[in-house]
C-alpha cells in the first residue's frame, strides 16, 4: 500500500492505493494518528484506488473517525470501489461514516 496526500486549504486528502489488511493496517493507523496529533482536523479518505480492505482496515477508519470527532474534527470517505463499499455496508460503517461519491464532495462535507 502507498498513501498519496493532497491538500485543499485546511482539508487533507489521503488516497491509499492497493490493499489494507492486517499486515499494513497498523502502519496506516499510526500515520493517520500522527497527522491528527500534528493538528490535522479535516480529513478525507479517498478510496478510489483502494482495491481491498479487511476488518483491519475498517478498524483504522473507525479509530480515525473517533479520534477526529473527539478533537472537534471531521472525516469523510470518498469514492469507494463497489467491493469496498459492500464491506463498509456489511460492517455497518456506512451509517456512521460519511461516504461521498468523490473527493470534491467529501472535501465540502468536512468543511
Amino acid at each position: 500500500m502507498e498513501i498519496f496526500e493532497s491538500r485543499a486549504n485546511d482539508v487533507l486528502i489521503l488516497t491509499p492505493k492497493g490493499r489494507v489488511d492486517a499486515s499494513n493496517a497498523a502502519s496506516l493507523e499510526a500515520h493517520v494518528i500522527a497527522l491528527i496529533d500534528a493538528g490535522e482536523r479535516r480529513l478525507v479518505l479517498e478510496l478510489k484506488d483502494l482495491d481491498y480492505v479487511s476488518s483491519a482496515g475498517l478498524r483504522v477508519m473507525l479509530v480515525t473517525a473517533k479520534r477526529l470527532g473527539a478533537a472537534g474534527g471531521k472525516l469523510a470517505l470518498a469514492s469507494p470501489q463497489p467491493a469496498v463499499r459492500e464491506i463498509l455496508d456489511i460492517a455497518g460503517l456506512s451509517t456512521i461514516l460519511q461516504i461521498l461519491p468523490n473527493a470534491r464532495a467529501a472535501t465540502e462535507a468536512v468543511r
Binding site: R19, D21, A22, S23, Y52, S54, S55, A56, L58, R59, L62, V63, A65, K66, G69, A83, E86, I87, I90, A91, G92, T95, I96, L97
Partner: protein, 154 residues
C-alpha cells in the same frame, strides 16, 4: 505461478481443487488473496463472490496468525479450495491452540459511533458473506469449513 491443483470430471460434474500452504505471517495475506482470485477466475466464479471469499478467508487466516499460537515459531496454515459447479468449499486448517471462531460474540453494527466497538468485526464479516460455517478439532488441528454459492447468476 499456478496453485497446486487438479480438475476431475465425475459423472458429468466438474469438481476442482486447489491447495495453498501459508506461513503464520501477516505478509502472506496478499498471496492468499491472489490465490483465491486465480481460483475464482479459473473456475468461472462470480466476481462479487470471489471478493467475498477473499474477505472471509483473509479474516479467518488473520485470526489464526494473530491469536492461535502460543509460541513465536513458524507454523503452516493450509487453505484448501473446492469448487463443485458454483458451490465453493474452503477449509482452513491450523495447528494452533484449540479455538472455535464461530463462538465469537457478534458486534452491534447498529450502535452509534461513540459506542461502536473497535474489534470483533472480522467474524461478523465472515458470517455475512458466507452461506454456512463449520468448525471441528481434528488430530490436534483446528479446521474451519466455509461453504458459499459462488455461481454466476444466469
Amino acid at each position: 505461478l499456478r496453485p497446486i491443483g487438479h480438475a476431475e470430471r465425475i459423472a458429468g460434474v466438474a469438481s476442482a481443487h486447489a491447495a495453498l500452504r501459508l506461513k503464520n505471517r501477516l505478509s502472506e495475506l496478499e498471496r492468499l488473496g491472489q490465490f483465491i482470485a486465480e481460483f475464482g477466475a479459473d473456475h468461472g466464479l462470480a466476481t462479487k463472490a470471489i471478493s467475498e471469499l477473499q474477505l472471509a478467508i483473509d479474516e479467518l487466516v488473520t485470526n489464526v496468525i494473530s491469536y492461535a499460537y502460543a509460541d513465536a515459531g513458524e507454523h503452516g496454515i493450509d487453505v484448501r479450495l473446492t469448487a463443485d459447479g458454483g458451490e465453493v468449499t474452503v477449509e482452513v486448517e491450523d495447528d494452533g491452540q484449540p479455538f472455535d471462531p464461530l463462538t465469537a460474540p457478534e458486534p452491534d453494527v447498529d450502535a452509534p459511533i461513540e459506542e461502536r466497538q473497535i474489534g470483533g468485526l472480522g467474524i461478523h464479516l465472515v458470517r455475512q458473506v458466507t452461506d454456512r460455517l463449520e468448525y471441528r478439532r481434528v488430530g490436534g488441528k483446528n479446521v474451519v469449513v466455509v461453504h458459499k454459492n459462488a455461481a454466476k447468476s444466469r
